[in-house]
Symmetry: C2
Subunit: 116 residues, 2 copies
């Protein structure tokens, strides 16, 4: 299945438990729009990961806050690891123990914040 | 060795590489002032870890920012994992691959921000 819409144009839909996680071919398809994100299997749960580098600590903190605002707007919250000069963002959907299209939408919007 | 000063009264001293990491008895002594922190061995590097719980995402983000301000004041930067309702803080000293008294000072000051 090829997604027809740009991920950043999609508004996150609330994810109810019980919806199935994306299948491998769907993941591969969406990943073409988020090529900088790595799909990792963390104890059986597929997650999207990307590390962002910054020139100093303040820039990393500012990015963390920008992603946090995105998370509140989308009502979808990542795990963010904030270190000196680096923020590692992980998106996945707890309720389905895997990846939902929301996660790819959120990843694409995170990319947009980094390049903004 | 029993520390005589309250950790929160100590100003972090810049930590040069080459200073030895704390020994086990020193760690045990300082840990009495930071009982909520767990000493973990992460691939041979001793680190202090504590998870803080919050009622919502905004509270967790606010705490992350408060610890980030502390980090800039002390010029010592932790790893912080920000999730919905939870922040996990890890202090250690990269340059000595282990724990310095600075890490206990920073842990005690982090506790003070949580209870503030």
């Amino acid at each position: 299945m090829e997604p027809k819409e740009k991920l950043t144009d999609i508004v996150c839909v609330p994810c109810q438990g019980g919806m199935p996680a994306l299948e491998a071919d769907e993941i591969a398809s969406y990943q073409r729009q988020t090529p900088d994100w790595e799909v990792r299997d963390v104890e059986g749960v597929k997650q999207l990961h990307r590390s962002f580098s910054f020139k100093d600590y303040d820039a990393a903190v500012a990015f963390t806050n920008a992603v946090a605002e995105l998370a509140q707007r989308e009502d979808h919250h990542p795990a963010m690891l904030l270190e000196w000069g680096r923020v590692t963002v992980s998106w996945w959907t707890h309720k389905i123990n895997g990846l939902h299209v929301n996660d790819f939408v959120a990843a694409a919007k995170t990319d947009a914040l980094f390049t903004a």
